[in-house]
Amino acid sequence: MNKILFFAQLRERLECDELDLDVAGLSVGELRQQLAQKNKRWQKWLLDKDVLVAVNQALVAADSRIGEGDEVAMFPPVTGG
């Protein structure tokens, strides 16, 4: 099982802060595609916008594979500092 977290504007637009899904074996890009199928709103915010993805709290590229138990987080480009 994997925990998928959403932050900031993405969390608000999806109206979802956390999902529990088994997505081990998928790449991060494939996971975005799969989640985007939920509806038009998810498609817009997960595919048409810039989204950063972290696996186990480290930023990763779209082709990075998700492992069993990994924590996946999706969020907009960061704006701290």
């Binding site: 977290l5 932050f7 900031a8 504007q9 810039d50 972290a54 709290q57 480290a58 930023l59 924590e71 987080a73 969020f75 907009p76 480009p77 960061v78 704006t79 701290g80 500092g81």
Partner: protein, 155 residues
């Protein structure tokens, strides 16, 4: 030293921390980022800073290690505030001490540039009329961070 906190920080205390137990640091650089009145064309009333708690400390600690691998640094302090902030509040401190100024200046800029594009913080502004607005990432910041890739590659 990495800290993510809601509370304000005291500059003199942080300066003392940067020079404590260390008479070899001839150079100390302290950068402070604060809430300014106008951003991206909007008048700001207040700010809310969200973060991804499990990742922020982890990333900032890694960033400190990266900086130490590139420059001979003595003490390093990164403090980032989260939660509600008001106009003129301090948001972030990057402090570096080193034997000479070149390393201190460069490392402070490096830490700030990478924090801006990689550390999971997001600003939400309360603007005129009480409306909320998520701050948009700045392309200039991405370019600034990318320029350090060559320095990292040559190290």
């Amino acid at each position: 030293m990495i800290r993510v906190q809601q509370a304000d920080f005291d500059m003199n205390q942080e300066y003392q921390a940067l020079i404590s137990d260390n008479s070899s640091s001839g150079a100390v650089v302290m950068f402070v980022g604060r809430v300014r009145d106008v951003n991206q064309g909007h008048q700001i009333d207040e700010l809310y800073l969200e973060h991804y708690p499990e990742m922020t400390n982890k990333y900032l600690s890694q960033l400190e290690r990266q900086a130490r691998a590139l420059w001979p640094l003595e003490n390093v302090s990164v403090i980032h505030r989260v939660g509600p902030l008001q106009l003129e509040d301090k948001i972030v401190l990057v402090g570096v001490s080193s034997v000479h100024r070149e390393a201190a200046f460069e490392a402070a800029q490096y830490l700030m540039d990478l924090l801006k594009t990689n550390a999971p913080f997001w600003k939400k502004e309360v603007i005129e009329g009480g409306h909320n607005r998520w701050v948009e990432a700045n392309h200039k910041d991405t370019i600034a961070a990318a320029q350090w890739a060559e320095v990292e590659r040559l190290a």
